[in-house]
């Protein structure tokens, strides 16, 4: 029996996140025809993924739900443009990444306006005291300090388990660039974690 290192990107490639391309195209075609069951299937399949991605990408808790809904509205609006050249998951990740960046920009503008107009920004939600939540908060904080390009590659590869060739497609860069960004993102994250934990 052929054996190789487990958990490598190549290995993951055999198990697409969003199902086979045929299934993807079928579900998209049914959505285009107005099949509400297909739309529900698509939502059920990808809503947790999008939510998790937005969380890891640094969209704050109070904006996460709206951002997730916006992504799905955008997905629905753009279904006519999905040609099946990439996996459905890749395409949705790309939309989600765009929206996450947009949400971050909007938040910065909102914060700036709040400062200019001397308005109190809404208080952040009360922190969850559990150890797991604390770990996640620290991770989110560290990841948010990475540049958006490195952050995207790191989140997709390390948290979402997306193969690097798909990561490159989502990030719109060559594969080698994606590897390079990942390398530097890992190094920066490790260094930040060491400083934080010390």
């Amino acid at each position: 029996m052929q054996e190789g290192p487990v958990n490598t990107p190549a290995h993951l490639h055999a198990v697409p996140i969003g199902g086979s391309p045929i299934a993807d195209m079928e579900i998209v075609a049914r959505c285009r025809r107005g099949d509400s069951h297909a739309w529900r299937t698509l939502y059920d399949r990808f809503a947790p993924v999008v939510y998790r991605f937005l969380s890891a990408f640094g969209v704050p808790l109070e904006d996460r739900e709206d951002a997730c809904q916006e992504v799905f509205v955008a997905v629905y609006r753009s279904l006519g443009h999905f040609r099946g050249e990439a996996r459905l998951s890749t395409w949705i990740y790309r939309i989600a990444a765009r929206h996450a960046s947009r949400t971050a920009r909007r938040r910065r503008v909102r914060s700036l306006l709040s400062t200019l107009l001397v308005r109190e920004p809404p208080p952040p939600p009360a922190p969850d005291p559990s150890e797991r939540s604390e770990r996640l908060q620290i991770l989110d904080d560290l990841v948010s300090k990475l540049s958006p390009k490195k952050r995207l590659v790191l989140v997709l590869f390390e948290i979402e388990g997306v193969p690097i060739e798909e990561v490159a497609k989502i990030a719109g860069c060559p594969e080698n660039t994606a590897w390079s960004r990942l390398h530097y993102a890992r190094a920066e994250l490790t260094a930040m974690a060491r400083r934080r934990i010390r």
Partner: protein, 492 residues
Amino acid sequence: LNERSWPGTSGSDPAEVFLRRALDDAALRAPDDVTLRRGWTAVAEPVKPSRARSWSWFAGGVATTAALALVCGLWLWPRAVATFALTSPVTTPRAPAQVAPGARRLTLEGGVEAQLGPSGVMRIEDGAPRVEKGEVRFSVPHRPPGHPFVVRADDYSVVVVGTRFGVVVNDQVVGVDVDEGIVEVRQTAAQRRLARLSPGQVWHSADASVETSGAPAPEPPAPALPVSPAVSAPASAPEPGHVHVRIHDHRQAARPAARALALATPGGGSATAGRAAITSTPAGLSTASDESANAARSALSAGDAPRALQIYRALALKTGPAAENAAYQAGKVQNERLGQPANAVATWRRYRAEYPDGILRVEADVSIIETLARAGDADDALGEANDFLRRHPDSERRAEIARLAGDLYRARGDCRHAVGAYQIVLGASRPRDVVEIASFRRAACLVRLGDAGGSEAARAYLRTYPTGRFRTEAAALVGDGARSVDGRARPQ
């Protein structure tokens, strides 16, 4: 770099240990089912896909300018109005509908449509709309449990889960009429229920009267918990605690003030009639479903599991998300609190029968498999596990279930099937510890089978997890590939 072995597994660097745990946590982060349902409510009927874009640049420019002007204006306006206007474009996945002449249509958070009459004035206060003057008609899609829609008018609150209704304020007199569904009118300060309105009924604050234009609609009895445990009610069964009133065009018979309420019914409205279960208000007002869910949680906190089970069963007889939740939770109570695994499995199977595509379907499947496995019913557990693996090719729980199936096969000495199950686990990236265990146990099974790939599988384990928890046993497998190490290498 190519392998997913970062961060390291040595355990000597606390930063790496922390990152590894945190990344695993992040990979398993998932929204709760209420969030998912709320999201589905918002996107269930999205706008139509965009058409030709010949005017898109021009229209985009105009829209951007208008939006900027609007945003700037709203930032200078009182906060309540700003909230209203800013939230509306975010969650507006609604189909366009006919608007009465002179009326303005707005979409609020959660897909709620508000149609303001020519003299209607509405503000948003603390996240809820307040009708200041004139008439506003609302079309409210089904709401998730615990998130009813509340409209305030003068000293009154109108509480609703999913329906179509209108509110009018004229000279300090508030009127409420209902097209579909059931709403409650409450006195905001005292939180006292003043009226419960069915379709065709009109309520006025002047004399606190309820007027019915169609068939008489008696006040529905308070929802009561059935004493006997019950399985799920058929879909056609009347909902306990609700009176089904024939929808009647009350506009002809209503008195003048009521007639003023009756604008054209919004075309294409998607509100669901009749079966909406009223839950609680954010302000602390509570109604049937939410009270029941809270009561069940309180009973569990107090250690009264039989009572919680009874409440969940009663709630499961209703319809909607709260009922679905309750149908699943009843099984959890039986399994975890009452020590009745067989009954729990039966309850979850009933849940599956009633909600074959329910949002908790995967949870129910996993609960059944784990409970059967713990109870020692390996045959049934394996049947369910294999069905799960066939049915959910993309589930995040796939690796866990495949590993469980592998362990069950291995425990009965069926290494060949165990290898197949562990192989499925290796196709997943998370959870890492599950993948690591499956990687080692697969190697052990191959060695036990005398498969030539056994040693190589053990070496692959050592390459991927050089400091893994089974490194000693894996090294033994490599050194003595033909010897079974199952007995001493079984780590847990």
